[in-house]
Symmetry: D2
Subunit: 257 residues, 4 copies
Amino acid sequence: MSKPIRVTVWGENFHENSDRDRAGMAERYPDGMHGAIAAGLTELLGEAVVVRTATQDQPEHGLTEEVLADTDVLTWWGHATHAGVEDAVVDRVHARVLGGMGLLALHSAHFSKIFIKLMGTTCSLAWRNSRDTELVWNVLPSHPISQGVPQPIVIDGQEMYGEYFDIPAPDELVFLSTFSGGEVFRSGCCWRRGKGKVFYFSPGDQEYPVYHHPDIKRVLANAVGWARPEQVDFSPPQVADSVPPRFTGATLVKEIV
Amino acid sequence: MSKPIRVTVWGENFHENSDRDRAGMAERYPDGMHGAIAAGLTELLGEAVVVRTATQDQPEHGLTEEVLADTDVLTWWGHATHAGVEDAVVDRVHARVLGGMGLLALHSAHFSKIFIKLMGTTCSLAWRNSRDTELVWNVLPSHPISQGVPQPIVIDGQEMYGEYFDIPAPDELVFLSTFSGGEVFRSGCCWRRGKGKVFYFSPGDQEYPVYHHPDIKRVLANAVGWARPEQVDFSPPQVADSVPPRFTGATLVKEIV
Amino acid sequence: MSKPIRVTVWGENFHENSDRDRAGMAERYPDGMHGAIAAGLTELLGEAVVVRTATQDQPEHGLTEEVLADTDVLTWWGHATHAGVEDAVVDRVHARVLGGMGLLALHSAHFSKIFIKLMGTTCSLAWRNSRDTELVWNVLPSHPISQGVPQPIVIDGQEMYGEYFDIPAPDELVFLSTFSGGEVFRSGCCWRRGKGKVFYFSPGDQEYPVYHHPDIKRVLANAVGWARPEQVDFSPPQVADSVPPRFTGATLVKEIV
Amino acid sequence: MSKPIRVTVWGENFHENSDRDRAGMAERYPDGMHGAIAAGLTELLGEAVVVRTATQDQPEHGLTEEVLADTDVLTWWGHATHAGVEDAVVDRVHARVLGGMGLLALHSAHFSKIFIKLMGTTCSLAWRNSRDTELVWNVLPSHPISQGVPQPIVIDGQEMYGEYFDIPAPDELVFLSTFSGGEVFRSGCCWRRGKGKVFYFSPGDQEYPVYHHPDIKRVLANAVGWARPEQVDFSPPQVADSVPPRFTGATLVKEIV
């Protein structure tokens, strides 16, 4: 329990470097969105975590076997270049999640290959970018992820993500967001897959400085704690062939059937 | 499958007769709220249902053993006089639900004795009566209850019910409501309890004519169909004492353990 | 509601034609496993269904656009040649399920491409083929799929499928199986995906005549009824771009935040 | 996180003192069942917990306001004298659970007043006392409660508890038990209620020394960790009356509706 959680903050790192967005991103996120997310986790969790970043433009998208073997929780932010993520890397991340690694899928990562592969649905939604106010409501007060934030969290400017959000029913529904345009979104959702845990959290867009918001940082820090592996063996579940029986000699009692 | 569903629409019938509310109620609900709900079901479901009403002011609140034994689905609307409902009647309804009868708990019935007894929680919530616009969003398009209504349902004037709503996580979350004040509410929730099914639906308040709204009538009709019993034996689950084993002779294989 | 449910019973049709299994299969399943499943549905559901079969050896595995467009519920049995199913057909079935078609994944179909794609996990399990007695226990008496069968269903000879079964937690857990060897399996599981419904049911193996078992036939007939689409528009959920707001003019009330 | 978890182990303490059972209990549980459970927690959790015991024969059943105010997790074992537990104490425990206290309901506590009140169902089941072998299978490897125990846990002699177990579908199903008689039971189940967490675990009967079993002790220790409160304010959820709106000025956009 006392070893630090090894967190890898993965960023697409596209908007940061695109002609259209570079200037604004440099203002909002001088160290990139991944840099801001990583800094927030380090600020709030201190020695309880060891945080590194990785980006899509690196070899193997920065997610080599070695990096994943050293990762307890992976956070994923992607938007414009989902299609450019190599399937082999997606499969590697998928196996690691099923083996126990936590995954935090953030905002537009709803359309990432890894999230769709884990969910099995289209993961489509409704959206509008018109600087809505977003209110994030806690609907699961017994959950570790919803601790230490006001009811509701208020985000002054955000892209709107709305229902219908095509996901499997969450194992735990933690947050619901409303928007000034009247929409609603299941914005904080937990699933267990294999030995691993997945948290989707929608607040956070490249055009708004949401990852500097103290309550959003708190939620992400809480989520890292929740998503950490329960064990140290990261092998995904596998078939157990021709297992020996536990009982022998069991005979059906016919008369009562 | 072809026998009509026997529906009993239960109403507190208090506001209809109180000095303060009588005039307004007579305008909005000349046949009482229970009368309006019953009429909507008959209108939409026709020969697929047989609908009666029962009210709190009747002997045994209109829910005698005979009436319940003739009821497949019970709808419940109460508000001002929850405490006046006799525990013996609550226990009777409870046993019938666990035996297979469907229950539709409507609006302020979140605080009815029967709903609290089935949920095990406080069933408390946030509220405000300021003629909000309510939008009811479908988040489970594969569910029979959400068929045939627009996305969202729009209710011009409604009391606001908001989170945190202290209920067990629904087995199926069908609707989420947003309000012009920015709040959110899990407004359409399904649970299974014993052999029976429970649907909570929040739209519907004595001060607004919501039960005449065509989409709300559709939801209630759908819910009656969903909540109908799967079988004809309405005995609640009970202990099976000293049951005979199904297998004999089973011996633990020690070496693999 | 009164139109017949259009069912396509899909079979791998490999064991029926393999040198090793042909003789035994001809005895147990003279019309193929798909033939037996189809006959059981027709026998129990009569005019409420229209049943056809399709097999992997047909062009496009018998699952052309036209066939799927005419299918409300698809049952899937595969085992030895999962890998030979074309991805394009899997994608087509996947889209149809998300659009509302019901899917019954049977026995070794836990390892079919379509089931894995819908689940997002490895779908691995433990197994042993030693003619165990299987007992199928109903743990959800309020569910339509568990109606009309004894507690438990007894299957004299069956392959053992055991935990850990690597699936997402079912939305509804209907059946648990025990085996004479002492194992347990979540043998009847429901999930909702997109607009569609998925039921996994494990009893049924090529080496045992399980699909002739009257209780197993009843479960499959019940499952077809449960899995039928709720609507006639089979388009999968999709992104709604730049949707207009429902409210205008909403301004955050600063002082209470 | 570093403060010890305050655990109160509650025991009915009836069998320990009854003429029929005293001798056998003294052999199996010289310090009472509550004493054995408390010792196991202290042994495995050390300084992470402060453990006390309380019994039904004490004033207010040992669960005074003061004791509960000093309790983070309560374990409950009762069997023969459920009816003798005062409703006022049950209500006090109920409020504390909804306020955040964890509750571990053990074995025959399925029929305790507090468990029934939290579940809303009959909590009935099938049983047989014939020294069955019980196998406890982990079906949720991502869960903290299932860590550090073999697959399956083997209990040589146990009372059989079988399905149908009349409980709400668990929020998280952790363990399934099979018995040498062929039965199955949902033996490890989690629910969230209000701000609190509830774990039911069936292994453990007065006639068998199950609470000395190292794997059972491990499960209980894990469960205490899982059930600990997330926060320090133990007030149950309550109604928020006439809350101010978060948005003002929101106007419905009519044309798109």
